[in-house]
């Protein structure tokens, strides 16, 4: 009896002993950031370089099954893409994402008291788990959260007695028979309707929404406060965190992101502009001003500068699917924290350390305030985040390897494998490397999303959405 181990492809491993053999199909992310070969799949959005401001993508989110992909933009619109069912004959690519529904979620408003406009830009979209035929999502701008129902209509009643097919009423004297209207198939129509509007609860700008694992409540966080809502109740919300000082002159720290724990419905975290994360337990008190845990890494004194605080500000926090870890993104790095250890992260990945010597210029042109998001793959083995020059980075937590890829129309032939990119920090630039000073800081990837089950990623440049998949043999 002997064992033969053969790696059949990047995706499969075959173990054979005697006449018996078994195949190991890959679990999601098993190949790791570098073993996976990422290929271009699709790009959505306008081709021309002239970007209309309303088309700037401001959020990207897969639903729980991965079948639907939602984007929000600066013009207040939500566009939902649906993955087509896999073509059984041609199984060398997964289903494509095509437009499923488009609707105007938020409109610009004017706050008369402050004489200020309220932007219609969609800051976040979060999907509810599917409970029936319809899909539900929460979308929010700076001030108002809305619950949208997206439903399909593929039948309509025909054969009314009193109405013509076009809706006009028939002359009653011409009605001589009685019939029962029947449902007949029609072209699929996808309708989006606002079911709840959660307004007037935030003085400051909403930066996060997060649905609780009880699927009945959710939180919304602005710069200074976090509110807890029930999905059914719009005229009341509970304030669970308030860091507004009595005297606004003493304000030195704001809330930057918040999220519920994926499994514990009493636990949530929020991050701050000073680089701290606080974990709160709602069972402890109604107002969770005292944290249960405080996650903070001591500052490295050798790297101290006037910009230290700014670059430590956390722009995104995401729990792992398992709930054991959480990931934070600050300006230069991604950190993975074990919820059981508060004094330092368990893993730190440098996203673009070559920018550390350029912080003053980045402060001047405001890029230092860019809020990058981050995301986990389905198995929590790889994390991804964006950078400048339309680059995005992936870090494999198991192999400790990382890769830099570019979202650009140059690689847009389907199934073209993306070539890894490299930035040359200093010194002699090798061929195919790009020097730091050549980076385009207007081309930033702030929003990325990873399919919950498969190796499909959605990467948003300023006004285009790129979809990449791993290479399927």
């Amino acid at each position: 009896m002997y064992f033969v181990l053969r790696r059949k492809s990047a995706l499969q491993v075959k173990i054979q002993w005697g006449p018996m053999c078994i195949y190991f199909p890959p679990t999601v992310g098993a190949g790791g950031g570098n073993d996976i070969q990422w290929c271009f799949s699709q790009v959505k959005g306008a081709v021309d370089d002239d970007v209309a401001e309303a088309d700037i993508i401001s959020t990207v989110e897969f639903n729980h099954s991965g079948e639907l992909l939602a984007t929000g933009d600066k013009g207040g619109r939500v566009v939902i893409f649906q993955q087509e069912q896999e073509n059984k004959i041609q199984s060398h690519s997964r289903g494509e994402y095509n437009v499923y529904s488009t609707f105007q979620s938020h409109e610009p408003e004017f706050d008369y008291l402050k004489s200020l406009e309220i932007e219609e830009k969609i800051n976040k979209i979060r999907w509810l788990p599917q409970k029936n035929a319809a899909q539900f999502l929460l979308s929010t701008n700076d001030k108002t959260i809305k619950l949208w129902k997206i439903s399909e209509r593929d039948k309509r009643p025909e054969g009314y007695n009193l109405k013509e097919e076009d809706g006009r009423y028939r002359d009653p004297t011409t009605v001589t028979t009685l019939r029962v209207p029947v449902f007949r198939p029609m072209d699929l129509m996808v309708e989006a309707s606002p079911r709840r509007i959660f307004a007037n609860a935030h003085t400051y700008h909403i930066n996060s929404i997060s649905i609780n694992s009880d699927y009945e409540t959710y939180l919304s966080a602005d710069d200074l406060r976090i509110n807890l809502w029930h999905l059914e109740i719009t005229d009341r919300s509970f304030n669970i965190v308030d860091i507004k000082p009595a005297n606004m002159e003493e304000l030195t720290e704001v809330i930057t992101a918040a999220e519920f724990h994926p499994n514990s419905c009493n636990t949530f975290v929020y991050s701050s502009s000073k680089g701290t994360i606080r974990l709160c337990d709602m069972r402890a008190s109604a107002l969770c001003d005292r944290h249960s845990k405080l996650f903070e890494e001591p500052e490295d004194p050798s790297n101290r500068s006037f910009f230290s605080e700014i670059i430590s500000s956390i722009s995104d926090v995401k729990f792992s699917h398992s709930g054991r870890y959480m990931m934070t993104r600050d300006y230069l790095s991604v950190k993975i924290w074990d919820l059981n250890m508060e004094n330092r992260p368990v893993e730190t990945y440098q996203v673009h350390e070559y920018l550390r010597s350029k912080l003053c210029s980045l402060y001047e042109n405001d890029c230092i305030f860019d809020k990058f998001e981050c995301c986990w793959n389905g198995s929590d083995s790889v994390v991804m985040t964006g950078s400048y020059n339309n680059f995005f980075r992936m870090f494999d937590r198991n192999t400790k390897r990382d890769i830099t890829l570019e979202a650009s129309r140059e690689n847009n032939k389907p199934r073209t494998v993306l070539k890894p990119r490299k930035v040359c920090a200093s010194g002699k630039r090798k061929k195919d490397e790009i020097s730091v000073d050549s980076l385009d800081f207007n081309k930033k990837i702030l929003h990325t999303a990873w399919h919950p089950k498969e190796n499909i990623i959605a990467v948003a440049t300023t006004n285009n959405l790129y979809i990449f998949q791993d290479k399927v043999n």
């Binding site: 402050k114 003493e250 930057t256 500068s305 006037f306």
Partner: protein, 245 residues
Amino acid sequence: MGTMFARGLKRKSPEDGEDMEGGLAGARATPSYSLQRQSLLDMSLVKLQLCHMLVEPNLCRSVLIANTVRQIQEEMSQDGTWRVVAPQAAGRAPLDRLVSTDILCRSAREQEGEHPAPDVGDGHMADLVPGLAVVPSAQALRSPQSSLWEVDSSRENRGGFQKSLDQIFETLENKTSGSVEELFADVDSSYYDLDAVLTGVVGSTPSAHASGLQAFASAAAPPPSSSCRSDLGELDHAVEILVET
């Protein structure tokens, strides 16, 4: 220069034999460091004072910039290059007084004859005289009527920035005791807290991001909006709305 700021450290006087973190002890004493630090301070003040057109500013960004300004102020106070004369009112020790975060857009009703912010702001950046320390006068500090932006001389410019910082951070103080609070006394404060109104006013425009990195000295301040709002006419209008409802 960029390196300098990336590694700026807590400064001690060159006479100290103590070891410093990072070992750039000599660099911090140079006039070039002071100039760069002052430039950073000026840049930060410009960022804070720019009024945004219509949309409420990003509070996180404002807080981070204000904290940076505070850090610089603290360091300059320790150096002795930041000499703040004691104010006539409010018994706060000048060196202990850290700037508050609440920054208000300088509205037309605050100061008559205010120059449009954009032109003067850019002019200021170009007028900086290297090596001058900030030495504001007591009268300049406490005079709310004095114009924010002055073009007289380079020394005056320097004082102007100091004035502007204090004036900005004190405006809330003035407002809380002023007419604005009375104006809103009858309004249900749950949605329209005074602080909500006032903190909403500050702005900074999203700057025109340069593609590629620009040399620090050559970049101009991002063009601010030309319309600083909330003049008396609008205030009257707001009162009318309140009264009618």
